[in-house]
Symmetry: C2
Subunit: 406 residues, 2 copies
């Protein structure tokens, strides 16, 4: 049985995602698709529109056979950590043969060649990086600029591939596979129509999740009906009707501002992602803004991007300090494989994986929980506070909800 | 000019309070009344129904000449610290001649006699306290029981005075005056009709603030019209209409539960008032309750009273740790005299006090703020998150609102 892995957020799962699952199956000739999915807080530092169980349901009803949760410790991080955590989950399952990701490039060989350069860092590239660092650039930025300069010297490379978000994330997957010395074979599918972050709906059937969320918040769910597969649409309707969404940053306004008001600058600077003086900007802005949106707008600069600020706010909300993170040993990869749900085919995968997995597979939560798992549970509890209607028992859902069987 | 001081919360200011102000003036023959008033969080560990500026306005329009704020560091504490902070503010003003408080007893001489026993702790009383402590009682409880036992031996004392809440608070005022070696003369007025915490409305015109708040929450403000002086009633109407109340614990549900969900037991145990294993009870209860009321109910025992739990929750919400509190040096009394407002008569008081006060009198906030003052500001900011409607600029009200002149 050939198994392919994909890395998803499904916030929410739309027509473009359906195409990706379908293409992943075709391209790799897979018999089954395993998705690693972020939980309640996502890579751009945002709470998910609906909870992880609803999003896992969408996945299982629309082409995915097994949904594994990417631990929160990796989900709201830089592309490097996000990719490493995701690939590590797939790799540790022991039965995934290939990884299939979308990219602007669509050409796995050229991405692999780029990845080799990034990993091997030839001397000329190193000297470019040093030069950029000396100009006062941050390390990731210096690396990016240096890489472009390096690639421009060699006509065999398409230097424009650098900087396109899905290519960059793809390169991170490739790097992660190398780091893990993984046997998983990477594949890429060229993305169609909508750009990763494109905010407006420009195509009748396909729009980015960002555009869909924006339309939902501004005009209601109805405005997105043509952009969502029927199952996703119906499920979102139900979730919203039950008061479990749409969840967004504003749903966490009061706890977030309370946390900012009660923190000293030193305490605030101790959270993951709050660095380079971000703490004083946040504290100052918290006094003269009334919404999370306005807070981020007030803090945003070229150096502090929207995403970077949102990730820092997530760390503050979840109480993830640098000290706590150091204790998670992220460099070792997730210490468990958390199953959110599976189909009949997914059940077979789990059976096969039970002998091959290099981490414990959790279909329910163990009594003894690692700090990494505790963080997931904490994220769910805090997320539950953002529902528009109180959901009795929601603080225990991580423990009480049975794994989804579709 | 004879000046009398009173200690108030005015949550809200009702007919009983009006009577108290009037009687304080009469009993002491005062030309002016100074009130020390709690800010946004009160002695029973609750947020105030409306903010401190509205409550100060009620006071200034209804018989009080000068309203000073009791720092939050004292306001949400045991009767001993609350009384000490309040009396210290009045004492440090340098112009207050008398202190007038309500009590069940109404007899200052017998309260003074009791106070002498409490302060001097005769050997027999000490041995009773030791006996009670050895039975495993907490110190305050052991003292109370021992005192009753001691008083029962001497027919000149009315041992039933012990345990009545206003008598007990009165005794704390008397003890505080002694500790401060204050020249302020204590007076007491016998309370009429409504008991301190009496929850139901039993009299046409006078009801406890507790009963009035309860009626407001259950049946709306209209239900309390006859129990409130016109000014209070109209002001509450306006505050509620503008979305600034009624504020209660449920308005802080999300930040409170978020704080509980993200705290480790050790962190939680570091907050003021979270002791004797309260942290684990709170953490456990936070998982299976959805409201602050239900949380407290779930945690409440004979040892952890409702008030004690509410005070602990306030410390958690405000981020007041034992360590931070130690740095405030509460034993030295408030380090400033914060003026919330004054009448024409109050202005004269301030002029007289400007030469006699033993602490800086603040009619606006200084650039350099002591940690004690920072806590007041923090309390206001967090309180502002509890308004039913966002109040633009509310995080800066402590700085931007001019002192009230009535």
């Amino acid at each position: 049985m050939h198994v392919t892995g994909i890395v998803v957020e499904y916030n929410p799962m739309h027509n473009g995602h359906l195409y990706h699952v379908e293409q992943s199956r075709k391209t790799t000739g897979a018999d089954a698709v395993v998705a690693v999915m972020s939980g309640h807080f996502l890579q751009r530092g945002e709470p998910a529109l609906v909870n992880k169980w609803a999003r896992a349901k969408m996945a299982l009803h629309q082409g995915v056979d097994l949904v594994l949760e990417l631990p929160a410790a990796y989900a709201t991080q830089s592309a490097t950590l996000f990719a490493f955590g995701s690939v590590a989950v797939l790799d540790s399952l022991g039965i995934v043969d290939s990884l299939c990701f979308g990219s602007e490039s669509g050409d796995i060989d050229s991405l692999q060649a780029l990845s080799t350069i990034i990993v091997e860092e030839p001397p000329l590239l190193q000297s470019f990086i040093q030069e950029e660092l000396q100009k006062g650039q941050s390390y990731p930025r210096a690396t990016g600029v240096a890489l472009t300069r390096y690639l421009e010297l060699d006509p065999q490379f398409d230097s424009t591939a650098i900087g396109q978000p899905n290519n960059m994330l793809g390169l991170e997957y490739l790097t992660a596979l190398r780091k893990l010395n993984s046997s998983i074979q990477p594949h890429t599918i060229q993305r169609i129509v909508a750009g990763y972050n494109e905010e407006n709906i420009t195509h009748a059937k396909i729009a980015s999740a960002t555009a869909i969320r924006k339309a939902t918040m501004q005009s209601g769910l109805d405005a997105t009906e043509t952009l969502l597969p029927e199952y996703s649409y119906k499920l979102l309707q139900e979730e919203f009707r039950e008061g479990r969404g749409p969840v967004n940053w504003e749903c966490f306004k009061q706890p977030l501002f309370t946390l900012l008001h009660r923190a000293t600058p030193a305490e605030l600077a101790g959270y993951v992602g709050v660095d380079e003086g971000l703490e004083s900007r946040l504290l100052e802005a918290s006094l003269r803004t009334e919404t999370v949106h306005d807070l981020i707008s007030a803090v945003k600069t070229k150096r502090y991007t929207w995403t970077k600020i949102q990730r820092a706010l997530t760390a503050i909300l979840l109480g993830l300090t640098r000290e706590a993170q150091a204790g998670l040993h992220l460099e070792q990869g997730p210490d468990y494989i958390r199953v959110l749900g599976f189909t009949d085919q997914g059940r077979k995968l789990l059976r096969a994986a039970s002998e091959k997995a290099r981490r414990p597979i959790l279909t329910k939560l163990p009594r003894e929980k690692s700090p990494m798992l505790e963080l997931d549970i904490r994220a769910s509890r805090i997320y539950a506070g953002g529902y528009s209607r109180t959901q009795p028992g929601a603080a225990l859902w991580d423990i009480s909800k049975p794994v989804l069987m579709v």
